[in-house]
Symmetry: C2
Subunit: 211 residues, 2 copies
DNA sequence: GCCTAAACAGACCAAACGGTCCGGAAATAT
DNA sequence: ATATTTCCGGACCGTTTGGTCTGTTTAGGC
């Protein structure tokens, strides 16, 4: 199988993603992708009409892969407990473990790199970014709404804001991790976020090491 | 005063900063800056030898301005209370008020936009990024070390991680604010962060509305 | 084996881009 | 007033970049 179009397309997407996370979208030049992947212009433009089309394909694929990880992690958490509060804590814990197992800083979130070049992109791409973040919010917001009904928080809180907090911590930690070259940043900051939830809903200490 | 070199230089820096925050560093083209500022190539390259030199000047200026805001806010917090815990809470609260007064999302942190194109820059620039974030950490870490001595935390915590938490929340909130076009994001998430500190060090409710 | 269409290689192109150069205007020193 | 330096306008240049085009190779149906 020397000529597998789908495989080549995936290789292009992988290479482009790596380069975007290191150089930004504008910094990622097509010629650079060609070298990195080991193909030629003919191959590239056979799979993608323009660089913008690559950008959209890249974003869609990243959003889909991310949604899958979220869904799997959520399912795993729901299997381990029936209590939505415990589910959230397990959910966070599972993400912590993901990042704690890494030796280098997480290369970064593709969405964030797009956000910092937002004006480069058209409305369709911007909408896709908006929707993806909104989906992440909805996923956790739903849980937090159940939680506040069953476990009275020590302070009045907004489920939506708590849900955004997860993404905020992740995105912020990625930035600091890259700048400080510290692979532990994401796991540590997620642990802090989890600690906040535990304090907020008064989780007893012996119930915290669930996962 | 028709020909004020310093004023022109500042105008270039302002315009370039705006464009970098919208388009990223690579996306910010010199010709675009010229249009935006209303000058010509001759003027630009009279003040900056290369685009890279502009990048460094931009970063240094941003870091300095930021350090000044931090120092002023810190001084203001220290004037309002002698207790380091209250100082931190006031400090956060003052930042909240800053962002809550804005009608559009904060345009973003220049450091973060550099971080997401990190490989574009040389060692000197990368070091400057590292040092700037390290300084932000040191500023709050110092306070948190005093706090944990005087106010036993409900959970064992690392002052350095708590300090990073502030930056993490800010950077993450900027990203979400831009993506969701939500000006309130930064203030809300800082309020959540402050809530975490209050719960962690068991601040009574009536002592929370200090500022 | 043959045909067709997808998958590629690589020369080529026009526009964009960072940067140079020189002339001239404006401030400042003498 | 004159000289000198700073500041700036704008034409110009070489390289880079996204994209095109033509030809060639490979996979798969018949």
């Amino acid at each position: 199988m020397r000529k597998d179009g789908i495989a080549t397309r995936e290789k292009i997407l992988d290479g482009a993603r790596d380069l975007v996370l290191r150089l930004g979208y504008s910094g990622m030049k097509i010629d650079h992708v060609l070298d990195h992947v080991g193909i030629t212009k003919g191959a590239f433009f056979h799979h993608f009409k323009t660089k913008d089309e690559l950008a959209k394909a890249l974003l869609r694929r990243y959003a889909d892969q991310d949604a899958q990880i979220y869904a799997e992690t959520r399912a795993q958490a729901e299997k381990l407990s029936d209590d939505p509060l415990q589910q959230i804590l397990i959910f966070i814990r599972l993400f912590e473990d993901m990042f704690n197992g890494m030796t280098e800083p997480y290369p970064g979130c593709l969405l964030a790199s797009y956000v910092y070049e937002l004006q480069q992109f058209d409305d369709e791409t911007r909408s896709l970014l908006h929707e993806t973040f909104a989906r992440w919010r909805a996923l956790l917001q739903e849980k937090f709404e159940l939680i506040v009904k069953q476990h009275p928080p020590k302070t009045p809180v907004s489920p939506a804001q708590l849900a955004d907090g997860f993404t905020v911590v992740l995105e912020g930690a990625f930035i600091l991790a890259k700048a400080m070259n510290d692979a532990r940043m994401a796991g540590e900051q997620l642990r802090l976020y989890r600690n906040h939830i535990e304090l907020l809903f008064d989780v007893p200490a012996q119930m915290r090491a669930a996962a």
